[in-house]
């Protein structure tokens, strides 16, 4: 019998699904999960990987909105659920309780910004490379005319 708290989820299990309403925040105890954003035209893009100590699902609770992304287990994972009601009533009593979550969200924004920056740089690099390639291909044709 496992001593750990929470519940085990098998590999590939969708814990929260983008667009659905949720009543829980999750704290990762063991294992890895991926956060994926579903694209409008189909397919999905991985935006983060979560590990032990990470918390997810807080945005839908704080904003009273649907889940902004899907979270799926990459390995077997043990998660502890935190009830919305427990969380909100304790935050009301002790607002500093949200400090760790705010810190984690700030880290996530920073990481997303870095990823976005890398993506933009990659796109820009590809654009420059494509233009250079095009010019290389067009160059000999011009000289031959």
């Amino acid at each position: 019998m496992s001593n750990g708290l929470g519940q085990w989820y098998s590999k590939g299990h969708v814990v929260v699904r983008q667009g659905e309403y949720g009543e829980h925040i999750y704290a990762v105890q063991e294992g890895e999960l991926e956060v994926v954003k579903e694209r409008k035209g189909g397919g999905e893009i991985q935006v983060a990987v979560l590990r032990s100590g990470d918390i997810f699902g807080e945005m839908a609770i704080l904003q009273k909105e649907v889940r902004s992304a899907t979270v799926r287990t990459l390995t077997e994972a043990r998660l502890l659920t935190i009830d919305k009601k427990t969380f909100m009533s304790r935050v009301h009593e002790d607002p500093s309780l949200a400090f760790n979550i705010v810190r984690m969200m700030a880290q996530r924004i920073r990481s997303l910004n870095a990823k976005l920056g890398e993506r933009r740089a990659r796109v820009e690099r590809r654009r420059v490379e494509r233009r250079a390639d095009r010019q290389r291909r067009q160059g000999p044709r011009r000289s031959g005319q």
């Binding site: 019998m1 496992s2 708290l5 929470g6 704290a27 032990s52 918390i55 935190i82 002790d94």
Partner: protein, 474 residues
């Protein structure tokens, strides 16, 4: 000098106006030293939050935790004499704070509890069937347990957490407290002295350290306590899985002087926690010979305990647990009545840490910002007394027990959307919610209506069966 004595200046008067009239106060500054007496949950939570909050405002303070006990030891040498339940709400709060209890600390994750009464028993499951309550050893288990190192102790884990936050653990007994130029001074067992800008007293009610404050802090009166009984039974893993499972077993038995009793599985052990009035061997023997208790053990035979103690618990809050540069936290100040002592230690310790970092260390700072958190728990304890009086009535009156059992069993069996009695009992016995919330749940209009119906139906069925009691609802 690290401690800043601020006197009123014109700018302070203006700041004091906005801060609510604080014209002069004592506050920690860079280089301040804080002494903490006691390395149990209250002391370590206080230290962890103090250092975390101080770092957030770029305040550099040094903390010494006085804890002579080594929690890596098995038996009484490393034990802090406690039932060792980390409640559902505290587990969730700690996870939110980024403190996740590792599996080596959690000797068993509890996912349900079984309520035993003379008329039958009922299992109440956690929402989502999740292991949400941690059964832990405060030390490293009874003397006869398999050693698994310091990583198996809950208190040891928290002490490590505080040390990793930057605190220094002083492995010495505190022999004397005095004042040195208006600052608290600690003299330890080897005669060494250290003067601090703030002293946090987190010694439990079973510690001799609380007797050191008689002359030093005459305003402080230690809390009133009640003697309890805790013992450990060693069972085979198969027997524990078969008879106890991942459940806490709670007993509502009509035994005089018995307030509450629970069996809690932890690794290869089963902890009995018994609360009552004038707990003595006669009460313990009566309880252990009850058929409902014997049924929890293999072949109905209760083995001899491998370890036992009669620790005291805080039942009436300490008077004025604060003063200039001194504050009492945990059991030495205010604690929740009967349940979730570790949870109340967390709340009070955090309130003290916030006060120290954001407001100051003067008597007035603690009165305005720390005492309300204590008072909230103390007021909640007043409600608890009413609830436990009702619980005592249920213990005594069989027709009430039939109604309670029937209502709970029906809620569990039908997976009812609203589980009025189940949630009231769950929060009452696990200490997961404040007592005021437990009481407010019983004010839901459906609750008395359902209870009345189940009282009538339960007792009518009993009359028809002509004496046969309800079966087990496990």
């Amino acid at each position: 000098m690290a401690l800043v004595q601020r006197t009123a200046r014109p700018s302070d008067n203006l700041a004091g106006y906005f801060a609510g009239g604080e014209a002069s106060r004592l506050a920690l500054s860079d280089g301040s030293r804080v002494g903490v007496i006691g390395g149990g949950p209250a002391g370590t939570f206080f230290t962890h939050f103090l250092l975390r909050l101080a770092a957030a405002v770029d305040l550099d303070v040094a903390v010494d935790i006085y804890e002579p006990r080594n929690f890596a030891y098995q038996g009484p040498a490393g034990c802090n004499h406690c039932g060792g339940i980390v409640s559902e709400s505290l587990v969730q709060l700690l996870a939110t704070e980024g403190i996740n209890l590792p599996p080596s600390i959690v000797r068993r994750g509890i996912e349900s509890y079984v309520l035993h009464m003379d008329i039958g028993n009922v299992r109440i499951e956690t929402p989502l069937h999740e292991k949400r309550i941690a059964a832990v050893f405060r030390g490293n288990g009874p003397r006869v347990s398999e050693p698994i190192g310091a990583s198996g102790s809950f208190d040891g884990y928290l002490l490590e957490l505080a040390a990793s936050s930057g605190a220094k653990v002083v492995r010495k007994l505190v022999n004397e407290i005095s004042w040195d130029g208006g600052r608290p001074q600690v003299t330890s067992s080897d005669g060494a002295t250290a003067t601090y800008d703030l002293l946090a007293v987190a010694a439990g009610v079973n510690s001799q350290a609380l007797q050191l404050f008689g002359e030093v802090a005459p305003q402080y009166h230690s809390p009133k306590t009640l003697k309890t009984f805790i013992c450990e039974f060693k069972l085979s893993p198969e027997a524990l899985d078969r008879h106890i499972g991942p459940s806490m077993h709670v007993f509502l038995l009509d035994i005089p002087r018995l307030e509450f009793a629970a069996l809690i599985p932890k690794g290869e052990f089963l902890t009995l926690c018994l609360l009552g009035h004038d707990v003595d061997n006669a009460l313990i023997d009566t309880f252990l010979s009850a058929p409902e208790v014997k049924a929890c053990f293999p072949d109905g035979a209760v083995p001899s305990p491998v370890c036992h103690c009669f620790p005291r618990v805080n039942v009436v809050a300490a008077a004025r647990p604060y003063g200039d540069r001194i504050v009492w936290i945990g059991d030495s100040g205010v604690a929740r009545l009967y349940k979730d002592g570790i949870g109340s230690a967390y709340r009070v310790a955090k309130a003290a840490a916030k006060t120290v970092v954001h407001h100051g260390v003067a008597d007035e700072d603690f009165r305005r910002h720390f005492w309300p958190a204590c008072k909230r728990i103390d007021n909640d304890n007043s409600i608890a007394k009413v609830i436990f009086a009702v619980s005592g009535l249920i213990q005594k009156l069989r027709f009430l027990r039939r109604g309670v059992l029937r209502m709970t069993a029906n809620e569990q069996r039908r997976q009812a959307r609203r589980r009025h009695m189940s949630t009231v009992l769950w929060d009452l016995f696990t200490g997961s919610a404040p007592y005021r919330e437990v009481l407010s749940r019983s004010f839901h209009p459906e609750f008395p209506a359902m209870l009345c119906w189940n009282l009538i139906a339960g007792n009518a069925v009993r009359a028809r069966r002509n004496g046969s009691e309800e079966p087990s609802h496990e």
